[in-house]
Symmetry: C2
Subunit: 214 residues, 2 copies
């Protein structure tokens, strides 16, 4: 039965996300599923194997989402009404989708909290946390914004600071939304932040015309 292995993984993840890897016993995982701990070893070599499978799963999901969403350079695309707003719209949509992913998807939400708890244990977990939730997204957005500033889509500004100003609220609202009663409000505030940011940092029309004339 393959969904036993799957339910072990999800149950373990849920507990790891609340208490941390070390604090969760093999008995506790088994007990949560109404079986004895001996049975777990028919599906996973040991406790660490469960953890590693969770991490591997995240890598896999991330790869799938990368293929689906963020083409490194978007190829051909039906050109909407305003050609210079296309990138901005895309980023806004993608950002909201990412937020919903990290807050509402069962796996991603628990994985993010687990990663938060494990980030100081060893260098590998620290690096994974960075690449998923702090420096990674920051660097990614910095590249995009640099491109958009060059293209004249965004106003002249340090892309590094733009990325910080744009992404930091995303990151903070992730933490805020860990409280279930604050999740809805967090999404609203994020959406307001995105529109505020885009409005404040989109290049003025005059400037666009200047650039277009060159």
């Amino acid at each position: 039965m393959p969904d036993t292995k799957e339910s072990i993984l999800m149950t373990a993840l849920r507990l790891f996300a609340r208490d941390g890897y070390q604090a969760v016993s093999v008995s506790a995982i088994a007990g949560e599923l109404g079986m004895t701990k001996g049975a777990l070893y028919k599906h996973y070599r040991n406790k660490r194997d469960i953890f590693d499978s969770i991490v591997q799963r995240m890598y896999q999901i991330d790869a799938e989402r990368s293929h689906k969403y963020e083409v490194p350079e978007q190829t051909h695309d039906q050109c909407p009404e305003s050609y210079n707003d296309v990138s901005i719209e895309r980023i806004a949509d993608f950002t909201v989708a990412q937020f919903l992913f990290w807050t509402e998807d069962d796996f991603a939400s628990a994985f993010r909290r687990m990663l938060t708890l494990e980030q100081y244990r060893d260098a590998e977990m620290g690096e994974l946390y960075r690449s998923c939730l702090t420096a990674g997204p920051l660097a990614y957005l910095e590249d995009i914004f640099r491109h958009m500033v060059r293209e004249g889509t965004l106003r002249e500004a340090d892309p590094r600071q733009l990325a910080l100003a744009f992404y930091a609220p995303f990151h903070l609202l992730l933490s805020i939304s860990d409280r279930p009663e604050d999740r809805k409000d967090a999404l609203t505030r994020l959406q307001r932040h995105i529109t505020d940011f885009m409005q404040q940092n989109a290049a003025r029309k005059e400037k666009e015309n200047e650039i277009r004339q060159k």
Copy 2:
């Protein structure tokens, strides 16, 4: 010897901040200090007592800092060159001071990481994390900004979104600065963020004059 008790507290905190409370054994704390675990029980009733003492210590430090820094309404003060920039300057200074506190102070830095690891264990820790590092500072700044918008020091905008835009980079850079090699850069980026924010959101001179004329 009272500094034995103190060194136990600091050593335990350092380990709790890396591995989490449950994952740190009493033997490990004692071993780090070159003594046997039995000796710890001459200074603390049990393991939880060490943890509780750490939390209590944070409350104490926070109370001291509250008295020292943030008077709820600043009383009399030598009035500098520009009366409407005073609050902005004060906030900028206080923000940097808070950042250095959470990143460079041995106790506060470790306590923040420990709190990060314990935030999902129970409601009390979650509430403490919120009040220290997320919703707490946000609400505090929201109040200040609302006041400043009313006074005409800041441009007309939702104080809630202003607080988010101002504090979120602070919060993200705290996490970034957990990597020692990124700490210096994080401070620089924070300072740029603060000046950028103040410049972007300070009320225009014309507007100030309008208000002053009323």
